[in-house]
Amino acid sequence: MLREALGRRIDELTTGLGAVEVAVIDSGVDASHPDLRGRVSGAFRIDCVQGKLRPIELPVGDNNDGFGHGTAVASIVTRMAPCARIVDVRVLGATQSGAGAALIEGMRVALARRCPVVNMSLAATAPYSQSLMALCDAAYRQGQVVVASKRNMPLADNGYPAEFSSCVAVDCARFASPYELRYRAGVPIEFVAHGEDVPVAAPGGGYTTKTGTSFATPAVSAMCALLLGTFPGLRPFEIKSLLRDAAGACERAAASRDA
């Protein structure tokens, strides 16, 4: 299957696609937004119940986003990958305060549901890294691709889970196409995607633009969904190889444009 997929342009994988669930572990998703209506297949909120963080399943189709971050991320995935179905896992909000513990519970939801692609446009801090690494390894063994963003402003680390080899790590740059990709050899953050001034859906039905690694990451998640929608049996290491192949093709095309 890898051989069949090699050399195919990801942005041309538009026909005969099977639905692929992409877990968006984030601030929630406004599933009532015109761009996302009918594209969200599951919704959860991580909340404190009797002193413990637990996932609460929510009705699909409502606005579950407090910040707009998750809606923006989900809209990039659905625009780029028509086969993507979003599983909204809300771990950020007024009560969760972005705690790494909530992020870990969110990851557990994505694992239990076996979403083929998991988008993490968030980073946990070092104290949570070991728990998160075990979950990302488990996802890798189950054949799930975890796509994680680098911190926008790394100080001590690039952010977890982006540093783990079991994940596809993403930095951002300005490219002409959202399908443009670059590969960096020898560094933990191996891929660079378009993440500057990205048009996105905003909660309530409007649109805005977003900049940062958080918005480059869903572009890569969408590419993973397109690959899996066309070649459902691909394993995470094969997906990484295909992304690297696609990045090489983009670099060659850019070089010939510049020449």
Binding site: Q50, A94, Q96, G98, L122, N152, D197, G204, T208, T209
Partner: protein, 221 residues
């Protein structure tokens, strides 16, 4: 109110060197990124709000914003605090094309919100705002502002350490708390900051903790 919030929540006194450094950092930041205004918001953990403590660049905004509260679960400043990440904001439009073409809109055109992190805790957020039509901050400006927020965090941390030394006790810092497991570290660092900034609130905190403990025991039974 401008400096009251700084002193209440960060133990930084009005007209102290730390206050001057924080003001300089924001002045420098807005000059470098080309913003008209910049603010510092401090975290009021008890209320779950961010409070405007300092605004640079516009006297009108400084008067209007000082003491204003932003709930933690809302807006770009709340998002920066929740994610511990620099965030960029732009206006919302009804059509995607207007967003892409940077159509005309009222109010701020682009905002950077960068969290001030001390150990594992966020103590506040610094912002830069431009009102120039169509202008958008990019990731380079965001990274620069994030670095300034990191320096601002160190200024706050040094003030906390100095306070601890001046009290004559051991130099108990937020870093000690970060060596604990995440949940305990979060509780210890929160209580330490409350003890420094709002010693009057400790009785309330103790009462709340006892109440919660009572509820948990009751629930288990």
């Amino acid at each position: 109110m401008t400096n009251t919030a700084l002193s209440t929540y960060l133990s930084i006194a009005p007209q102290s060197p730390e206050e001057a450094v924080l003001r300089l950092l924001i002045e420098l930041g807005i000059q470098v990124v080309g913003a008209e205004e910049g603010s510092l918001l401090v975290l009021d953990e008890l209320a779950g709000d961010l409070v405007f403590a300092m605004t640079v660049g516009s006297k009108t905004s400084e008067r209007a914003l000082a003491g204003q509260r932003v709930p933690l679960g809302q807006g770009i400043t709340g998002l920066a605090a929740a994610t511990r990440e620099v965030q960029l904001g732009a206006p919302t439009f009804s059509q995607v094309q207007q967003a892409l073409e940077r159509g005309a809109s009222e109010g701020p055109q682009s905002v950077i919100a960068a969290p001030m992190v001390v150990g594992e805790s966020v103590v506040g957020v610094i912002t830069a705002v431009t009102f120039a039509q169509g202008k958008r901050f990019g990731s380079r400006e965001a990274e620069l502002y994030g670095k300034l927020a990191a320096v601002a965090g160190v200024v706050v941390q040094q003030r906390h350490r100095l306070n601890a030394l001046q009290r004559g006790g051991e130099e108990t810092t937020l870093q000690d708390a970060s060596a604990l497991p995440p949940l305990e570290a979060s509780i210890v660092s929160s209580v330490m900051r409350i003890a420094e900034a709002r010693p009057d609130a400790l009785v309330l905190v103790a009462h709340l903790m006892e109440t919660v403990e009572g509820l948990c025991v009751g629930g288990a039974a």
